[in-house]
Amino acid sequence: MNLTSEPPTLDPALAQDSVSFTVLTGLYEGLTRKDADGKVIPGMAESWDVSDDMKTYTFHLRKDAKWSNGDPVTAHDFEYAWKRVLDPDMNPASPYAYQLYYIKNAQNYNIKQDNPNHISDPNQVGVKATDDDTLVVNLENPTPYFLSVTSFWTLFPVHQSAKSNSAWAAEANTIVSNGPFKITTWKHGNEIDLVPNENYYAKDEVKLQKVHFVMVKNSATELKMYQTGQLNYSGFPTGEIPIEQIAKLQQTNKDELRIKPIASTYYYNFNTTKEPFDNANIRKAFALAVDRQQLVDKVTKGGQEPALGAVPPSIMGEKQSFREEYPDTDLFKPDVAEAKQLLAQGLKEKGWTQLPPVTLTINEGTGHKQIAEALADMWRKNLGVDVKIETQEWKVFLKNRQSLNYQIARSGWSADYNDPMTFIDMFTSTSGNNDIGFKNAQYDELVKKALASGDQHERMQLLSQAENILIKDNMAILPLYYYTGVHMVNKNLQNIVMDYQGMVDYTRSYVK
């Protein structure tokens, strides 16, 4: 498999990128795992009880769980690992510590600086190993999706030897893991090798003799390596298949090319604080004038689905996909004639005869330029508007976007957990990820209600109402398409599973 680049760390507490996560998937296992359909199944915990208010989870760990060095994996290891992530003095701090904020008092323990409510006593954090096999977790709010959170990388256990060696996760020989594989080689910037962990409780299920990761940045090279047999897996999530090659591969490698919808949305940000996009009708005009079907068929070419909403179809709703329960076609319908009308109306509201110059800001990177050019062309043909495209270096771009220094900017969001909330709470007025300047009291209220509710039906309704405000009423963002994870798997390699997020689980794979 290709990782494209060196994983910045193999410490579950510090990891925050798909490269590190992909390697960690093989090395570690959390309390729960997910099966091929994305259902939560037992991992290190063989069973669990949930209290009626959905605020207390009691996990019962399996007794045969062992670390790669033979030590038993106990509930204390989990308590240690989670409190380590939350430790306010951990250096460097865990960037994904907020994945544990569902736990009672976790946030107030984690944050010391400028926090009057800071809790200095780790014992008040709602995670406790009552004996070697029992872990009791108390949550702040009823969180129906907490079980799926426990399979997240940041919540993996860490061997207690990390206490004495802070640099343990930088070299292969000091990493002790509890998962299906253990690491044997880590040649920095070059390759990583995993072999089966003989102490793993389900070692019979692990069939691969070795997982070999390379770090090749160039997508054309990656494809050539796949085609010459140097790679058995290529493409998403840690690699990439060149867009222009997909159509051909669909013919030549039909059995191997897979296109899997994943829980990420590609959209454009409107800066709702800056002219001309402080006007909702002008925003709507731009959104309605885009032919999304043509965009995914002719430009992105990766089998993506046109998006009219923020929440992608692979996110679960109450009983089935959220999008099936609340279709995005109810949000708006692209229509060039209506778009023209809306533009005229918006201009009138603003008292303009024509639109001021508009610049679309994008970052360098595959495909973004093509998409921007296609959209600019649609806007020119359908609205008669000339939109200038400006490419920016990645971090310069992010800085500008975060400080609302743009008019329209490219954006994309991927799920942190399998719930619409992960796409909705980012647009509340206090969210650190709200980079569109959107402030709506009603929206904030709906999100707050949904956070406090334990009733799935009610939550989904509240979240759908919020999405309506965001898109149908305000068109604060311009949804374009729901991502797919395009990848290729050697036809002899069975049971490699891509989950709803696009992360890949190779631990139960075997060679036919």
Binding site: A220, V299, E390, Q392
Partner: protein, 309 residues
């Protein structure tokens, strides 16, 4: 004192190099030299074919986009990645845009950028390198080290800074390319001057009272013309490709405009499927460079009376 000397030179040097080829002093002829050079240049068939090609190229860059039935920016998503045909003479790109128009629009950008960057490198490089080599000693040491420091500063950082400070435009690209582009040229000139300044005829001229500036630009620089022209012919294509890199980072031509460099860049992942998307710009760059080279060679030979046969 050295400073005034250096300043006085810039202007004079420029004139001499362009209009009064200094080889004249060596040949010691009295006919206007440029006419002589031109005559010799014109008699070289190879050099002239280079000139003819360059003129054709310039004409196409101007009229090319006008004669094509399609403009360079309109997408035609039903005709993407088409091979050359009677409708699209050079085929289409991944958004169905007409490559014929794009090639000649790209020629405008690439040729302007390449030539402007090369000229700036030439002027700064010769003056800076000339002074380093001729004055020598501590001045040389200091100027040499300054150029090495500039050369070592991470170019990417400079580019990102320019990107933040300046609006993207052709001039920004040329500026970005010139910040460090001249250094190689100056080092080549320095090395040549150091070698030449101790040769007999230079020592003789000096003992006859020839001044520093006159010495440098009349006697020394002309004799380093060979390496200078060779370096110059290297600068043009490297500027064309650096432009693609700068555009990629957001400094430079912005879409839908294209240059030869960005066209090649864009076609890189699909050249096995749609070879024409890479072939047209790549072949044109190579032919242009060949034309510059035969012209450069002819020019050099024309300046050098020793080679007359």
């Amino acid at each position: 004192m050295k400073d005034t000397r250096a300043n006085g030179l810039t202007k004079e040097m420029f004139r001499k190099l362009s209009f009064r080829p200094p080889a004249e002093t060596l040949a010691g002829e009295s006919v206007p030299v440029w006419r002589d050079v031109l005559r010799r240049l014109a008699s070289s068939k190879l050099a002239m074919s280079g000139v003819v090609f360059l003129v054709l190229l310039a004409i196409m860059a101007i009229v090319g986009p006008l004669v094509s039935p399609h403009d360079y920016y309109t997408n035609n998503l039903d005709h993407t990645n088409e091979p050359p045909s009677s409708e699209y003479w050079f085929g289409t790109d991944s958004l169905g845009r007409d490559l014929f128009s794009r090639i000649w629009m790209g020629a405008r950008i690439s040729l302007t950028v390449g030539l402007a960057a090369a000229m700036i490198d030439l002027v700064i490089g010769i003056v800076y390198g000339g002074i380093m080599g001729y004055v020598g000693g501590r001045t040389d040491e200091a100027m040499n080290k300054i150029s090495e420091i500039l050369y070592s500063i991470p170019y990417l950082l400079v580019v990102i800074l320019l990107l933040v400070v300046l609006e993207p435009s052709m001039w920004t690209i040329i500026l970005a390319l010139s910040v460090t582009g001249w250094i190689n040229m100056s080092w080549i000139v320095r090395g040549q001057i150091m070698q030449l300044k101790n040769q007999e005829y230079v020592l003789a001229a000096r003992s006859m009272g020839a001044g520093g500036a006159r010495m440098l630009f009349k006697h020394l620089i002309p004799n380093t013309l060979g390496p200078i022209i060779v370096t110059l012919t290297l600068t043009v294509p490297s500027a064309i490709f650096s432009e693609a890199f700068l555009s990629f980072l957001g400094l430079g031509v912005q879409s839908p405009a294209a240059s030869w460099g960005t066209m090649i860049n864009d076609s890189l992942t699909s050249f096995t499927l749609y070879p024409w998307q890479m072939a047209f710009p790549a072949v044109l760059i190579s032919l242009t460079m060949l034309a510059f080279n035969v012209f450069g060679d002819g020019l050099r030979d024309a300046f050098d009376p020793k080679l007359k046969k």
